[in-house]
């Protein structure tokens, strides 16, 4: 069924968006619509057959990246989102836009200005900083539903006729195998959709009307089940709210599949990376890649409560976990690879078992606790969440050898190194060598009093197992 009607959609849609908390998205889309739809911002946009003024054709791969957007609404909001994040200053954004042949001036002067004006009317004594936030793509389904709801209610009222300054639009749906042709000016051109909503945005622009005038058709993809539900009976805002709560999913990350060709002029990788939704960014052309838009968590952005929580990755630095020894690397590498649940892997070096000073005399293969396939308790020293990699230590608090020592106690020790003004003592196999205080101010040359291998009694001056700190003193032998 196709229905065409003419009425002003802007005001009622804004009111709905205000009630349902998607004002930024709705105003962005409506302002883009007012200047002729999102595709008008691409400088090489020319006509329906994709012919640029100079006679060149828009690269098919680049063009095809549009068709991967579900509908025109998605294209508009993606463009606005990427534009917002393309730089912190207007100059940065313009540089970005120039590289992607996007009409930055139009975006700033038409879209942003009109959107600000619309928002200003909606706000009550608010500063710009408080309401400026990037477009949130998680609200896409909500915006779609609201537009559908309004069109259906208009359809029910018998397509009320409005003023001259109006958007024309309607609802098209196909039954069975019958395909619905989609206008070539839409991002959905060439695809078959069962149900969609459409607007002709050109009546609101300054484009010449009549023969040859551009018909900027906007298509919004809407699931048939939603449309059926909306058509069943008149829905009020709490029906819609319950439906939104039930049906639309708020995903932390929107994944966009992109298939596009990197244009020869876009060699700057950094700049190119800013335009992810529409271009493949690899050095090799014609590469399909998956792009993830991370949520924006800056000032005025998405608040902390909804920061994406990765339930499978609960590891924290400083905590102790059990892992399985996956592989052992013999000297000179002397470390073991440990695997944990959730995909984390880490390196346990011999130095983190015995201390670095005993590396020469030890071999990880002789360690009883480190055997392939065996479970081992380790502490995470450093963690790279992105790579899911950790640096590990087997020196655990409960097995800390320094807990054997008491402040003021006397313990046997061995001299392992003697310098002109210092000596090093071995007080325990798992404690690094310590440099003691020598209780004799007359000593000028340690070699006179100490030899390597001497057994001495060390006096513990200070010990703090938590910090792995010990200070000892030793008397000079006569």
């Amino acid at each position: 069924m196709a229905l065409a009607f003419t009425t002003d959609l802007t005001q009622p849609l804004l009111e709905l968006a205000d009630r349902f908390s998607c004002t930024i998205e709705m105003t962005t889309y409506l302002t883009m619509l007012l200047v002729g739809g999102p595709k008008r911002f691409f400088l090489w946009y020319c006509n329906h057959s994709w012919q640029v003024t100079g006679g060149e054709t828009i690269p098919s791969k680049f063009r095809s990246s549009f068709s991967l957007c579900n509908d025109d609404l998605e294209l508009a909001l993606l463009l606005a989102r990427v534009w917002f994040q393309s730089g912190s200053t207007d100059q940065d954004r313009e540089r970005w836009a120039r590289n992607w042949q996007i009409n930055a001036k139009e975006l700033i002067n038409s879209v942003e200005r009109q959107r600000d004006q619309m928002l200003k009317d909606l706000f009550f004594k608010k500063s710009d900083d408080e309401y400026v936030r990037p477009v949130d793509l998680r609200l896409l389904p909500k915006v779609r539903l609201l537009i559908a709801h309004h069109l259906v209610s208009l359809e029910r009222q018998g397509a009320a006729q409005g003023s001259d300054q109006a958007l024309k639009g309607g609802i098209c749906s196909a039954t069975g195998r019958q395909a619905v042709p989609i206008h070539q000016d839409s991002v959905c051109h060439g695809r078959t959709k069962q149900t969609f909503l459409y607007f002709f945005a050109d009546s609101l622009t300054d484009q010449p009307q009549g023969r040859g005038a551009r018909q900027a058709l906007q298509v919004i993809d809407i699931p048939p089940t939603w449309l059926n539900w909306l058509r069943q009976e008149e829905r009020d805002c709490y029906d819609l709210a319950s439906f939104i709560a039930r049906e639309t999913r708020y995903e932390d990350r929107i994944e966009v599949r992109v298939d596009a060709e990197r244009k020869g002029t876009f060699l700057d990788q950094d700049l190119a990376s800013l335009f992810k939704p529409f271009a493949a960014l690899d050095r090799q052309n014609r590469r399909r890649e998956e792009v993830r838009l991370a949520p924006y968590y800056g000032p005025g952005g998405i608040c902390g409560i909804d920061a994406p929580a990765d339930d499978t990755f609960h590891y924290e630095v400083g905590q102790i976990y059990e892992g399985v020894v996956n592989r052992i690397f013999p000297p000179p590498l002397n470390y073991a690879l440990i695997h944990f649940e959730g995909g984390l892997h880490g390196d346990l070096h011999l130095a983190d078992i015995w201390g670095w000073q005993r590396m020469k005399e030890k071999d990880i293969r002789q360690e009883e606790s480190v055997r392939e396939g065996k479970t081992i308790r380790v502490r995470i020293k450093q963690l790279d969440r992105k790579k899911k990699h950790a640096d590990l230590s087997a020196r655990l608090p409960e097995t800390n050898p320094l807990r054997r020592f008491r402040r003021g106690g006397y313990y046997p020790a061995t001299v392992v190194q003697v310098g002109p003004k210092y000596i090093l003592l071995d007080i325990h196999p798992k404690v690094p060598y310590v440099r003691p205080r020598v209780y004799d101010f007359r000593i000028e040359n340690m070699h006179r009093y100490f030899k390597v291998g001497d057994r001495v009694v060390a006096h513990v001056i200070e010990v703090d197992p938590d910090r792995e700190y010990i200070e000892v003193g030793v008397g000079a032998k006569d």
Partner: protein, 208 residues
């Protein structure tokens, strides 16, 4: 977030307002004296005083906005204490409601619908008119939701604006009073308060 000194002072002022009410028939509490009472403290304070505590008789307190404007009287000590439960009574998914639209856009993706729309509030400086408007709308919507839509759990994302807070909770207290009288179906409202410093929400006491 909650400064215990400010809350303790507010609690004392509330008690003295209740004493005033008992003595003279009108109890008034200033919200903006010394340090202002934040919206989340106001809500928590109302929760503390809405439920009966021992043998206290019901009271009514008027809140003072800036410039000495008075709010609608809010009934206190009029609800029997709710049952202590650690889990939500109803397992169904709550309706996530923002108290007022266009206040904090950062919670747009969290809420399903806004309780009050910013543009519909009276645009003058008279707070009494605003809290009355919020009260009437809340009363109407609570009844509609509970009776017709069968919504039994609401998560209220509260972002400030004292007139809206007072209007909402006054209507909620009256609704819960009617629930106890068996006139209306039960409802559970859990407020979530926006913390602008940490940019997060913390859960308030559940009204039921």
């Amino acid at each position: 977030m909650q400064n215990p000194n400010v809350l303790a002072t507010a609690r004392d002022r509330m008690r003295s307002a209740i004493r005033q009410y008992r003595q003279y028939g009108k109890g008034v509490m200033e919200m903006m004296k010394e340090k202002s009472l934040h919206h989340h403290m106001l809500a928590e304070l109302l929760y503390e005083f809405a439920y009966q505590d021992g043998n206290e008789d019901p009271a009514r307190v008027i809140f003072l906005y800036t410039q000495g404007q008075e709010s609608m009287p809010v009934p206190l000590y009029c609800l029997t204490p709710p049952l202590k439960v650690s889990q939500p009574v109803y397992n169904e998914r709550p309706l996530r409601v923002g108290l007022l639209s266009m206040r904090h856009l950062s919670l747009d993706h969290i809420v399903d619908v806004n309780w009050l729309v910013n543009r519909e509030l009276p645009q003058d400086e008279v707070y009494l008119r605003k809290d009355k408007h919020c009260y009437e709308l809340t009363q109407q919507q609570l009844r509609l939701l509970a009776a017709k839509k069968q919504v039994r759990r609401i998560h209220l994302y509260q972002t400030g604006y004292h007139a809206a807070v007072i209007g909402f909770y006054r209507a909620l207290i009256e609704y819960l009073r009617d629930v106890r009288a068996g006139k209306l179906p039960e409802l559970e409202v859990t407020p979530y308060y926006f913390d602008s410093n940490r940019r997060c929400y913390w859960e308030g006491q559940t009204w039921r």
